[in-house]
Amino acid sequence: MLKTRLIPVLLLKNGLLVRSEGFHTHQVIGNPVHEAERFNEWNVDELVYLDISRDNQYDSRRDDTKVASLTDPLQILERVSQTCFMPLTWGGGIRTLDDMRQRFARGADKITINSQAVETPALISEAARQFGSQAIVVSVDAKKTATGDYEVMIHGGRVQTGLSVQDWVGIAESAGAGEIFLQSLDQDGMAEGYDVDLIRLVTSRVKIPVVACSGVGRFEDYAAGVEAGASAVAAANLWHFKELADRAGKRALAKAGISVRL
């Protein structure tokens, strides 16, 4: 039986791991390579790295770890993939097929595209044709509107698109996306649980797997994402601030009657 995946999301900003709130507040919490090793030891299902840097400065400093300073996100990817024997998804700032190729060559199994996919939807179909749909994840940042609908936001949640989330995920699926990675600007960093209405809206619109993210504050929050139709449940901040986050998350899912890889 296919298991529900439980996924840690690592946010990378200028070469450092950060926690995020509302897509704007980012606090440094650690070294990206060191964390990947820890998750590998925990035997997690999958790993998602999102590079949310806005400028081109990378600096992993020699802060609290023994990992040498890495100045380039591609170098970080290369190092991470050497210690990571689980599916690895890499996203952030990917605008061209060549950007994708460089990330696959350094060990990414899947890439996520977001702003550029909205601006040029043909990029999805071209990427799916070259690398296979299974490797192309479309990441969607949703924001609730005053009327209760959901709008697609791009460029780190700063730019409105006027596109409704349900229309956009349908377009992305027909273009050849293999998976949707769904984030909520409203829930990001709030630790109040997923926006289950948003998840249900997307999972009922597409047949491809949907990875739910944003809002998990307690391990018990994961199950609601699965009940809303998500094939995988993800979180970022929680993984850094709770001990044994993998075991405890899996146990909470199993307790809710969901089949997981233990």
């Binding site: 039986m1 296919l2 298991k3 995946r5 590998n40 035997n43 299902d45 993939s81 050497q82 210690t83 990571c84 024997f85 689980m86 599916p87 690895l88 696959f104 060559a105 350094r106 060990g107 199994d109 690398f131 296979g132 749909s133 299974q134 490797a135 293999g178 998976e179 047949k207 491809i208 797997p209 094939s231 995988a232 890889r261």
Partner: protein
């Protein structure tokens, strides 16, 4: 991870290696995530090289045939780059171990039905066809699923009879003689997740992405 020393290989090598050290070649024919496979082999202490030129495999003890993409196009690429005869020399003449992963497993069969009927390498009798999609079981089959390991193939030494592995595929092999199937997976239907026929080994899942169980399987392959 369970350790076991009972690894009697039932393989017969007609061409013994010059060195006792294994040397792993990863077939590069322009398809597949070769970096992941190489990283995994290196992590278990193996000496792995990605090989683009089929002329360079004489000193290779163990070949890995990875692959992502469509069956017909992959076979075409193998033919054009001269890999078909090199693979044949390694696996069928020298009888050295070969591991097919994902599409690499499917290519060992006689024919595939992805976008038309295409001839495969034809070393294992049977075909490749699409998984049946049902409302509960979406295709592509992506994620961790458990495999029931049914024989004591040297590839599976030290693994539990049921292990989770990571799958990403839409097609599966249908061997004519099921006795070569060493592991079964259930996803809408029962399909072969691992195979062995003498020195030919294959997995539909990605051992290089299947954490400890996957790394153990790769270690076992290097010991074959």
């Amino acid at each position: 991870m369970t350790q076991s020393n009972s690894a009697p290989s039932n393989l017969t090598r007609s061409t013994p290696l010059n060195s006792s050290k294994t040397s792993v070649g990863i077939v590069d024919y322009g398809r597949g995530n070769l970096t992941s496979v190489r990283n995994a082999i290196q992590a278990i202490g193996g000496n792995a090289q990605v090989i683009g030129d089929p002329a360079n495999i004489d000193n290779i003890s163990h070949l890995i045939l990875p692959g992502v993409g469509a069956f017909g196009e992959a076979m075409e690429r193998l033919h054009h780059s001269g890999w078909v005869s090199a693979l044949h020399a390694h696996a069928m003449v020298r009888r050295r171990p070969l591991l097919g992963i994902c599409l690499g497993m499917q290519l060992l069969m006689e024919s595939g039905t992805e976008h038309g009927i295409h001839a495969g390498l034809g070393w294992i009798a049977g075909t490749v066809s699409k998984l049946t999609s049902t409302s509960d079981c979406r295709v592509p089959h992506i994620g961790w699923n458990d495999v029931e390991l049914v024989t004591n193939s040297p590839l599976l030494v030290g693994l539990n009879t049921r292990e989770d592995f990571y799958f990403v595929h839409s097609y599966a092999v249908r061997p004519t003689n099921e006795s070569c199937v060493t592991g079964w997976c259930q996803q809408g239907e029962r399909f072969a997740a691992t195979l062995q026929q003498e020195n030919l080994f294959a997995t539909q899942f990605h051992p290089e992405k299947s954490q400890r169980a996957g790394l153990r399987l790769l270690e076992n392959f290097l010991a074959c």
